[in-house]
Subunit: 218 residues, 2 copies
């Protein structure tokens, strides 16, 4: 009866909170790319001890959100054009794959959410507002990734998105590449949405069940 239900309350550790707060601050652009994070200041700001902070910084380093240079401390990295492009390439690869899988797996209620998010995304594209493009795209792809049937895909994608986010501080250099990527994915996504709709219409009389996950077949 209770075997699958874990009602235990697990208080969030200082560690978890420190990591999350720092991650959010970095992604939000609180620290400009290239800037050094000074441990003593962070300890004071976060109200944690130095060892706790250092543990958190190690975590964020492994996520590539910061770069810890021995004897000089942690920095928020400046993404080179090349690295940013590579991140976008891989991200796009994952997104295209996620869209394809999402089309086969998504639940009906989520299709409506997806369509709403796609419209918001397209509106942002038209308005050419950089921040809107980023946030609406994030929402759009969050739905897709959540419904692609592969948690690892979602997780890797999330990590890459985080790494790209603070380079929004340098919008001019990336705008061209980003818009191209967004346009391409939006186009293929709309195509898939249409294919999805017709497939669903064909299946309307059968009971809709989500296919079981199994090793992918190409």
């Amino acid at each position: 009866m209770n075997s699958g239900l874990d009602l235990r309350i697990t208080p969030r550790t200082v560690q978890q909170q420190t990591i999350e707060k720092l991650r959010l601050a970095i992604i939000a652009g609180v620290f400009p790319p290239g800037s050094r994070l000074v441990e003593s200041q962070l300890c004071a700001q976060l109200g944690v001890s130095r060892p706790s902070l250092r543990e958190a910084l190690r975590s964020l380093q492994a996520e590539r959100l910061i770069e810890i240079i021995p004897n000089r401390g942690p920095f928020v990295p400046k993404l080179s054009w090349e690295e940013a492009t590579e991140i976008y390439d891989v991200r796009e690869l994952l997104e295209v794959a996620a869209v394809g899988r999402c089309a086969a797996l998504i639940a009906p209620e989520q299709v409506k959410e997806l369509e709403r998010a796609l419209k918001a995304f397209e509106r942002a594209q038209k308005s050419e507002e950089s921040l809107d493009m980023v946030t609406t795209a994030a929402e759009f792809y969050a739905i897709i990734l959540a419904n692609c049937g592969n948690a690892i895909l979602e997780e890797v994608h999330r990590g890459l998105v985080a790494r790209i986010s603070f380079s929004a501080a340098d919008p001019c250099r990336l705008r061209g590449a980003r818009r191209t990527v967004f346009r391409r994915c939006a186009t293929s996504t709309m195509r898939l949405l249409r294919a999805m709709k017709s497939a669903r219409a064909r299946r309307q009389n059968a009971t809709w069940t989500r296919p079981r996950l199994r090793p992918s077949v190409r």
Copy 2:
């Protein structure tokens, strides 16, 4: 003159060494999946202080090589079938993309290396020796990923490979899926190698230069 050349010797920090040693030990299966790592024992074994160890453990946690459960400590995770499958799926996705890009970018000397590695891989497949399959596949794909022109792709792939490696402790459950994936990629890779060879033959009279990296075109 010296502006691009950094001759400074950077000694490896305790931190770096600890992370690396632990990572290798985990990947090598020194700690069975599901087992708990006890900090005091690790400190004694590695000869480092507890704060240093804890920093390293946070790093490895972010790499998903261990799972730190609050108040219970770090564990080497047991990969569920589902999670392992998902990792393989994403890994395959990256590998197929890498192969495609490698075909366009690889230098001639590396083609020979690739062919040699592919042969070793095929031999291992025939012998059905699990460890050989893992190691020859790793070598094979390391060449491909190193020549795919995208460091992020390589990096993400490497992370996923690491996560899968210690589940070699449970070969029976994964052998089927792994063999399928390997077969598929070997087939498509041989196809691409052949396409690569004919493309190179066509270009034999022109000076071979590596194309400049730019945003991918589909």
